[in-house]
Amino acid sequence: MRMGLRIGVWTVGLTVTLFVVTVTSAAIGPVALDLPTVAKATLNAVGIPAGLDVGIVETSVLSLSVPAPTVDVRYAYPFSFGVPGTAETIVRDVRLPRIALGGVVGFALASAGAVMQGFFRNPMADPSIIGVSSGAAVGAVATIAFPIAFPFGLQTAAFAGALVAAFVVYAIATENGRTPVATLLLAGVAVQTFLGAVISYLLLHAGESLERAVFWLMGHLHSSSWAEVEVTLPVVLVTFFGLLAYARDLNALMLGEEDAQTVGIAVERTKRILLALSSIVTAAAVAVAGVIGFVGLIVPHVMRLLVGPDHRILLPTSALAGAAFLVATDTVARSNPAPLPVGIVTSALGAPFFLYLLRRREVHEL
């Protein structure tokens, strides 16, 4: 019961924080808007899925006209405050998509980071450790540099690349149905290095698209759209709740795999599920926002110092704090006179902070 209460209090507190950060962020920009207006406009933009519209659209496949089913989600908007039209447009169509996507990405990266740190029992672990980010980068850079050879769309290619890389690392590290985490870690490092070479090669031959590719690699939210939010958010939420269902298993795993088995955890199966879910949640984030470093490392780490190592509370608080953190840092990134990729800001803030923790020996407590 006490735990339920603690989770509740922290969740509500961080949700409020996230809302405050969101509204503040939406008020900042070339056109100055006052906070109450922004708050109303933000609430107006909150949509709840209310139903599905299924239709048939004629599409052309190999110059043949084929009817294909389409699915549209209908949204209900519970709030309708009176807000000036320009302000509403700026908030809803310009600023909020980027903020919302930033929130979703931060949420995803921080939850995956929390899970990976527990999984590897290592504070330096983050989702990219099993090659997810590198795989996504290969997919994305290949698509940017050679759009004709890879005509799948940037996000799809990045998402697929991420999952393929994670699976390859897993397959390399697995022998006789067992996946020792140490092997997984080393296989991840090796595959990352290899993919790094592939990315460098692709960049060398990227020609005119080099700048776009580099920008993608640095992690960015500048071209966010509601469409991306609509695709990413459900994937992230579903996998998040999947991970949350394994929070207690993850706790048991933190005391050692053999020990976890003696309290009834099917260790290898649980590890597979945790790896798969955190790879998916990371891939979904990386596919839309590129490689944004340190969110998955720092946020869970700080939350662990605040709420303790129990994943039942660590996971939701990390996720919400990750969302707020990325929205805030992206605000810094975009309000810079020369807009920066958000990845630069998170790394520039995150690395010194991490070093501070390292010097304070906090990291060794993990």
Binding site: M254, L255, E258, Q261, G264, A266, R312
Partner: protein
């Protein structure tokens, strides 16, 4: 049909190239505490890991209440047997209660994050039982080794299983916590659980276990009550050393002492008079130094006598109150006369002065005293005078200086003078 709580049937395990266990069959019943003893690398931990399902045997079967571990799966096994791991060091700051709660893992539903009433009751009972309730909110990283061990016993209790597996539950604990943890396990067994523990300390194992199983090189050497299993006959091949097993002065249970084998043969006869701890130590020292040792008369039931028996030292026994009989005395006299040296180790001197008489008949007495004569003199003034005479004639040595002193005494005889 009644099943054993834990049953191993011809279990063999190989780890890589090494046969970690060969054809081990054992069983543990409800209310029984089985101790696994044996040298490092004997396969104790491997055996425990076959019971809790961490290792699947290459051949043979492990059954819990009649059901094979392989059929139960991790969750099923964890409802039958709870494990207290050897290494309880945790690097994450879970609270004591969090750790205990992990024992409820086998019973919870996946979607249930906070646990139900049954969970809370089991956790509460386990905390109370192990006297950890006051420490429930303390981080497991911030409690003492003994408390951490108790927290893991509490976790095993919360797991609510008929069987317990404990891997070296007392290793790295202070003696007070060693006893505390084993007393607790004893209580849990009295409740009707069955337990197996790998215990490095043979004396503790003998003291707390109903039966012992001695493992060496992956094979079962002996199974039975501690008195049977802990004998030099079984222990010497297993540990590759000579051992002496004597009843512990306090608990009366077998106490094992490893003794280094004599490194050389000294070819000289030493006779030991006296009794008690000092005589026992003298016997061991002399035996280890390679002398041909005889002893006695010593009152039956004396510590020194049991040491003599363990080391196959010929010892003359006297009834405790009436003193040695005629033939025993003659035999002792013969030993004192023929021995190169007679050692008097804290001799008790009675009114008849038997010991003094024997000492007088020996050529070279060496006196080892740790207690004052007053504590050993039961014969009054007269005897004291004779003892003083002996003292002036004898060489005095400490226990540690005994062997050099004897060597010194014997040398002039062995090496003829130059002139």
């Amino acid at each position: 049909m009644n099943h054993h709580t834990i049953e191993l049937d011809d279990v063999s395990v190989s780890l890589g190239e090494v046969d970690a266990l060969r054809d081990v069959s054992l069983s543990v019943d409800a209310g029984e505490f089985l101790g696994l003893v044996g040298p490092n690398g004997a396969g104790k931990t491997t055996l425990l890991r076959t019971i809790n399902g961490v290792i699947t045997p290459d051949s043979g079967a492990v059954r819990l209440d009649g059901t094979a571990v392989t059929e139960l799966g991790p969750r099923g096994v964890s409802r039958h047997v709870a494990t207290v791991p050897q290494d309880t060091s945790v690097s994450f700051a879970f609270s004591v209660e969090d750790v205990v709660r992990m024992g409820r893992t086998p019973y919870r539903a996946r979607t249930d994050l906070t646990g139900d009433e049954a969970d809370r009751e089991a956790i509460e009972r386990a905390l109370e039982r192990t006297e950890m309730a006051d420490l429930r909110d303390r981080p497991i990283t911030a409690v003492s080794g003994g408390e951490r061990q108790r927290a893991f016993v509490a976790r095993a209790l919360a797991q609510d299983t008929p069987a317990l597996v404990l891997d070296e539950p007392t290793a790295s604990l202070d003696i007070n916590h060693q006893v505390g943890v084993l007393e607790l396990v004893g209580e849990l067994i009295a409740d009707g659980r069955g337990a197996v523990a790998a215990i490095h300390d043979l004396d503790l194992a003998a003291r707390y276990c109903d039966r012992l199983a001695l493992l060496a090189d992956g094979e079962l050497q002996a199974v039975g009550d501690p008195e049977t299993v802990l004998s030099d006959e079984h222990l010497r091949p297993a540990f590759d050393t000579r051992t002496a097993v004597t009843p512990d002065a306090v608990t009366g249970t077998p106490s094992v002492t490893a003794i280094a084998e004599p490194r050389r043969d000294r070819n000289a006869h030493v006779h030991v008079l006296g009794s008690g701890a000092t005589a026992a130590r003298a016997l061991t020292k002399l035996w280890q130094a390679g002398f041909e040792v005889t002893a006695g008369p010593m009152p039956s039931g004396d510590t020194a006598l049991s040491v003599a028996a363990e080391l196959d030292i010929e010892a003359i026994t006297a009834p405790p109150l009436s003193g040695p009989g005629e033939s025993a005395l003659r035999e002792a006299q013969e030993h004192c006369r023929t021995a190169a040296v007679t050692v008097l180790a804290d001799p008790e001197v009675g009114p008849d002065g038997t010991v003094l008489e024997l000492a007088e008949s020996s050529g070279r007495p060496i006196l080892v005293e740790t207690r004052p004569l007053e504590a050993r003199n039961h014969g009054g003034q007269d005897v004291r005078e004779r003892y003083r005479d002996l003292e002036s004639r004898a060489l005095t040595a400490s226990i540690h200086g005994l062997v050099p002193a004897i060597a010194e005494t014997i040398r002039p005889q062995a090496v003829p003078a130059d002139d």
